[in-house]
């Protein structure tokens, strides 16, 4: 009985403690709040924390310079676990708070899209650094994207492969999720148009570990180039298994592979892989250099492209707020649409021709176990 009472009271105290801790942000007098919805736990926790670090960096910088029109910015972070139903609830929470003027996030397309109708109804800007689903920005008027979509990156890669590398017989291996399907579709479409022959299109389910069937099929087809919209875990597994099977194709892949993990897990097998990226830490452009320097000074590590995209999302948003002020949510949208000449860490961004930006990608490759700028 005593045990039961102790436990019950502990539970009650815990719950009350949680409830009284209240909204995560401290009330700031006359401040403006920006919401960040990102997966801080779960499968994508690493990327969500990249978001949080970069956005905090931007906010601190703006506040140090006196805020926006004299008002301090404040960040409200919410963990979505990459789960669609959580991101819907977060959207409701943000929309219900009259101080929150705009939202950054989420990481994955499915969480971002599930929450979109809530933001649209509240006329609140939803700017996602990474959501890549083609139809997301068509769901409403308040959705803004920072990353180059596969509708852009796919054809870009196809021109690189067919026009610049002169490869005529191409095979693809892609991850079967919303992103991979799009990546493959747009690449194949453009490559065919440019006159290349697509020898095979092989999909694999996320989490698959054994790729021998796909590899032996491709080995038999002898393609000039293999295009692989994948993530580092799958990619390195495929390349290691291909090496064991003595299959060494020329590989072109996607910005998704840009991570130290690809080098660590791939070793010799991934040598020569070419990818385009949104952001490269030794990119000579000044905006990228500034970001790399600031991020390193604050967190002591090189940023990755997810951090760079989140940095740009926050940068765009604050630039828009500076232009139109902070008195209405709907105005933020006009602010973003009206921005011209914004130089981000991931290249110049403008929403003049729609809410999906056309980006300049940086070509890089793996050489001697390092990511380096691509040279033909």
């Amino acid at each position: 009985m005593v045990k039961k009472m102790v436990v019950t009271s502990t539970l009650i105290v815990l719950i009350l403690a949680g409830a009284s801790a209240g909204p995560s942000a401290v009330q700031a007098a006359g401040g403006v709040k920006i919401g960040l919805s990102a997966p801080l736990t779960g499968d994508w926790a690493e990327y969500g924390n990249d978001f949080k670090r970069s956005v905090t960096l931007v906010m601190d910088k703006i506040n140090k310079d006196g805020g926006i029109n004299g008002k301090k910015l404040e960040l409200v972070v919410a963990d979505s676990r990459g789960d669609a139903k959580e991101s819907v609830l977060i959207a409701e929470m943000f929309v219900a708070d009259p101080d929150i003027i705009a939202q950054i996030g989420d990481f994955s397309s499915s969480s971002t899209m599930a929450a979109a109708p809530v933001y649209e109804q509240a006329k609140m800007v939803q700017i996602s650094p990474t959501a890549s689903h083609q139809d997301w920005t068509k769901k409403g008027e308040f959705m803004f994207r920072v990353v180059a979509t596969q509708g852009y990156e796919g054809p870009y890669n196809a021109r690189w492969a067919v026009n610049d590398l002169k490869k005529k017989k191409i095979a693809t291996i892609y991850i079967n999720n919303d992103w991979g399907v799009d990546a493959n579709k747009y690449f194949v479409g453009e490559a065919r148009k440019l006159g290349a022959e697509i020898a095979a299109e092989e999909a694999f389910t996320p989490g698959e570990k054994d790729f021998n069937a796909i590899i032996s099929k491709l080995k038999r087809l002898e393609p000039d180039l293999v295009y692989m919209p994948t993530f580092y875990a799958d990619f390195t597994a495929i390349m290691n298994q291909a090496e064991r099977a003595r299959f060494k194709p020329t590989v072109l892949a996607n910005s998704s592979l840009f991570s130290v993990k690809t080098l660590e897990m791939g070793g010799k097998a991934v040598e020569g892989t070419m990818i385009p990226v949104n952001y490269f830490s030794s990119d000579p452009r000044p905006a990228a250099q500034n970001f790399t320097k600031d991020y390193k000074a604050l967190y002591g590590a090189d940023p990755n492209q997810f951090a760079a995209l989140a940095y740009d999302a926050a940068g765009l948003l604050t630039a828009a707020l500076k232009a139109v002020g902070t008195d209405s949510r709907a105005k933020v949208r006009e602010g973003l649409l009206g921005l011209r000449g914004y130089e981000g860490a991931t290249g110049p961004i403008s929403y003049a021709e729609g809410r999906d930006p056309a980006k300049q990608l940086v070509r890089i490759m793996i050489k001697d176990g390092q990511w380096v700028l691509y040279k033909p």
Binding site: L11, I15, L40, V88, M93, A114, H133, D135, T205
Partner: protein, 334 residues
């Protein structure tokens, strides 16, 4: 006044319903209302799983499959066939029930862990089908722009209307399950759970009852899926992974099973805990896991487990109600 008192004594459920119906009058923040809507969806799901795990004692660990079937069926019926939502809801229930039958018929010969594995496998296979059948489910891209529910031409839009709709659905689920569990069907299920051999010996057609329970359970889950699809308006396979099934199991473990109160309490608790601890950011799942572990250590049967609570939904009988518990002797008194 006396009337109120006797209602209090005999049918506290009516007061609880009234309280829930009045909630929107006092809650201005739509976020809280939205949390309640999700609790409603999960209450239906947990209740439907409870029908199998709690009443019949068949452990199903792939229940999210039927939830998914309901959601996709409803979305496809309203978008492709232009059916009104009410029919799509019924259709979602029927289709999920149909799949339940297809799974139940061949697998109920298996007992214990084997049948559990079949449900797990079904959930995984269904996820892969949703993920890969581009032409029908649009694969990982999901189905977008699912129309809001419209009831006889009246389209629901506001969060308030969604709240009352899910409240109605939860009440319908509770009332119908209560009736079912109080008649021969429910008694037979309980008999099967307590001792399948004895039940069969006394003339209970166990396979038939188990099949029926499975079909019913699947169709309740399908109805919850239909509501989810039209409420969030975007569905993708991500929302119906094996994880979702485990959350449902955790709800039953937390709230207790074998009665109608436990699953609802479990659903409410496991939706509320992550929301309440949101300010802890990345540490909130520690608390979530911690509470579950503590719960299992001190009250293994769940908060409201191990008893059958009478909801007193049907009568206004002032005489004391006898509650039979496991192991009671059913002898006439005095």
């Amino acid at each position: 006044m006396r009337g109120l008192k006797s209602i209090m004594a005999n049918s506290p459920v009516l007061l609880i319903i009234a309280a829930f119906a009045a909630v929107p009058l006092f809650v201005a923040n739509m976020y809280y209302l939205q949390v309640l809507v999700f609790i409603g969806i999960y209450a239906i799901l947990a209740l439907s799983l409870n029908l199998l795990n709690g009443y019949v004692g068949m452990l199903s660990i792939g229940h999210a499959a039927f939830y998914a079937i309901g959601a996709y069926a409803s979305a496809k019926l309203t978008i492709d066939l232009q059916l009104p939502w009410v029919l799509a809801l019924a259709g979602a229930g029927a289709i999920a029930g149909g799949f339940g039958y297809l799974i139940a018929k061949p697998t109920l010969r298996l007992s214990g862990i084997y049948m559990t594995l079949v449900t797990l496998g079904f959930n995984m296979i269904l996820f892969l089908v949703l993920q890969n059948w581009m032409g029908f489910t649009n694969g990982p891209l999901g189905i977008m722009d699912i129309p809001p529910p419209s009831i006889f031409g009246f389209a629901l839009g506001s969060r308030l209307q969604y709240y009352y709709l899910i409240l109605t659905l939860v009440l319908l689920t509770v009332f119908s399950m209560h009736r079912l569990m109080d008649c021969r069907f429910g008694r037979a299920l309980t008999a099967i759970r307590e001792n399948e051999l004895a039940a069969e010996a006394t003339g209970v057609d166990t396979t038939r009852y188990k099949t029926q329970a499975f079909v019913l359970s699947a169709s309740y889950a399908g109805i919850a899926g239909s509501f989810y699809a039209h409420f969030v308006k975007y569905i993708s396979p991500d929302s119906f992974t094996i994880n979702e099934s485990f959350i449902l199991l955790a709800m039953l473990a937390f709230g207790g099973q074998g009665n109608l109160i436990g699953p609802m309490v479990g659903a409410a608790a496991l939706i509320l805990i992550p929301e309440i601890f949101r300010p802890l950011l990345e540490y909130r799942m520690f608390v979530y896991g911690g509470i579950l572990i503590v719960m299992m250590l001190v009250r293994r049967q769940g908060l409201f487990g191990s008893r059958s609570y009478r909801l007193r939904l049907t009568r206004f009988d002032p005489s004391p109600v006898r509650v039979y518990q496991r192991g009671d002797k059913f002898l006439p008194e005095g």
